[in-house]
Subunit: 386 residues, 2 copies
């Protein structure tokens, strides 16, 4: 891309300072340079003249790009091959004449070396309350580990609580993670996550539609939630209080036609009230394990899963089949042993087991994982079983 074109994009992003459907349409029609010229001259339709009036004089594009490059970052635009166009297509289904802020981002400021398009090819937004419980943290780790093992990217907002645990679990699993910020990528927000954000930038991507130096603000968190949903195939709410912001992310997912998934928890826990309410009100599907997420959001399994008896062994993936074969005919083994005996990395084994469990082929108890010979009763309750 030419320097002048990139500078035009940076200028437009700085002026717009967040989503603006009419501006995106103008750029799509005349290109960024002519659009930037029109904005500078206020040679615009009424709606855009008003929207850009306050900031069209802000021309820090060159400095912004310079600062971004010093962080090892880049400005990703719809011109770019790496632009996640396919994912952001969902915004096309929203009537932006009624809600101008509900549009795809104009451009994305990114720190990190991976491809956003590749990383979000199979991605789950993992969000939840800042006031996570020990249970919520444990469950987040479990879901993210299992999904990481089968190649899913974890997208979240780098907040305290569930968000932070989600990113950390993905990093620990050696998997991809994308942090979407409500401020410039040069800002560490929250401050306590400065080191985490550096690690995400090193091994994944830190992304924002806001230009360098932008400070976080209430409406930006809401716009950011829209991008967490927009870059994900599904949004998983692990824990949420009754009015948690995670429900805003979930609402965005629903608006974009993406599955909203919620993890149940103890009814005695305030941190699960929002999840329970979403499930109860039909706003979210209940998911109890990674396999449920894959079933709800995975491109391969959707609509194809047999509802009857377990899928046959020969329909398993290569990794699943190897992990299954590595299980002894009798007795249970641990994940580490399975990794050794199957020759599959730990993360792959962790990913395959939930899928095998979902198919009713394996099960788990205190001693480890074991083969399930045939479907039988696993416990009664004095009512006996059918």
């Amino acid at each position: 891309m030419s320097d002048s074109r990139l500078l035009a994009w940076a200028y437009l992003s700085q002026v717009s300072l967040g989503p603006c459907a009419p501006l995106a349409e103008l750029v799509a029609a005349v290109g960024p340079e002519d659009a930037a010229h029109a904005v500078r001259e206020a040679d615009l339709p009424e709606v855009l003249r008003t929207r850009t009036a306050a900031r069209r004089h802000v021309d820090t594009a060159a400095q912004d790009l310079e600062r971004l490059h010093r962080l090892g970052g880049r400005l990703l635009t719809p011109d770019d091959e790496d632009w996640p166009a396919w994912k952001l297509l969902a915004f096309g289904g929203i009537d932006t004449r009624r809600d101008r802020e509900a549009s795809a981002p104009l451009a994305l400021w990114i720190v990190g070396s991976g491809s956003l398009s590749d990383l979000t090819e199979r991605a789950v937004g993992v969000v939840g309350t800042r006031a996570a419980s020990g249970y919520g943290e444990h469950v987040t780790t479990r879901f993210v580990e299992d999904l990481s093992g089968v190649g899913w990217t974890t997208v979240s907002g780098a907040a305290y609580g569930i968000d932070g645990v989600a990113h950390r679990s993905a990093l620990a699993a050696g998997a991809s993670t994308v942090a979407v910020l409500a401020c410039g990528v040069d800002r560490a927000y929250p401050a306590g996550h400065a080191r985490l954000l550096r690690e995400i930038a090193e091994h994944g991507l830190v992304v924002s539609e806001y230009p360098m130096g932008t400070t976080p603000a209430r409406h930006r968190f809401l716009a950011r939630n829209r991008l967490v949903a927009g870059l994900s195939d599904a949004v998983l709410v692990v824990e949420a209080g009754v009015r948690s912001g995670a429900r805003n992310t979930a609402a965005w997912a629903a608006r974009l036609g993406r599955p909203v998934l919620a993890v149940p928890g103890p009814v005695t826990s305030a941190a699960s009230v929002g999840c329970h309410r979403m499930i109860r009100d039909g706003e979210a599907q209940l998911v109890a394990r990674a396999a449920d997420v894959i079933e709800a959001a995975g491109p391969i399994t959707v609509g194809e899963r047999e509802s009857g008896p377990a899928r046959r062994l020969d329909a398993l993936s290569v990794i699943e089949a190897q992990v299954y074969e590595a299980l002894p005919a009798t007795g249970a083994v641990g994940v580490r042993e399975l990794s050794e005996s199957s020759g599959q990395p730990l993360s792959a084994v962790r990913g395959a087991l939930p899928a095998l469990e979902m198919e009713g082929l394996v099960a788990q108890d205190d001693t480890g994982w074991f083969r399930v010979a045939s479907p039988g009763r696993d416990e009664g309750n004095g009512h006996l079983t059918t």
Copy 2:
């Protein structure tokens, strides 16, 4: 009722030994005495002759009734004013030509002094795994206490685990409870619940469609589950393993057109797997508290609850209003204090609070219950709230 008529009912119950739609139809058509005569003489349509062949010689009616009376019991029949005809009407919706065992019971052997019809006027079946967790026991107690406080009867199967806790919690709350057995009411099954069954008989009702001396058997547990559902306005599954018998009770409730409710729990708990699966598969509605059960199953609130803002204060019940008024304008108080200050019994206060909480008028924290001044945010997650 004449002795000969009662003896005929007892004989028919003993011969039929469980549900039998064609026999019930015959009795409805010609009365119990002529029906008993026809069975004795095998003067019957083919289907009934076959069905009664093995046991039509068993004529222990007089001894059975004598033993029942010695236990302080009675044989309840459709002749009786106390017959829960209204409740059992739901069986009329089932095509018993295809499933002869899916019919209303012929008669009920009952120990206890209360009226079955009165007790089941507002009743919830509370069932679950025998292998209940501490969480499951705690939650069962909470639901049953709250529902007992507003006059609901707890119906269950007297099994170990959730069933037993449900009965005990109702007894502890001084509320009504009905145990439906899969054996004769003279049998204590499970044996470890002999004392519990005596207490239920003393303060509630022990009920069985099986005559004196009948031993429990697999198919009788399934038939019994149908009666737990049949005598309840809704079935609440608190904990269930993946193939728990509680799901059989739930399936009966669904067949009878009654709400099936399930309590979520930690996804790490095997005892909640069945509940989560039922919710996920749309077989059960998620309920997190007694107010949800009342909303789903209560005759008054069904279809009438406003979905928008909280119901106005003047729409509260007298007890709810008194409890609400008794709450201080600021600060929290305990249930016992509220009972004193409102002049309402403890059970009534415990029942009113969930309803008030559902309306968004009160809330609870570690220090007790308090008034909610106006709807506000209760917690954020770094995404800020909408």
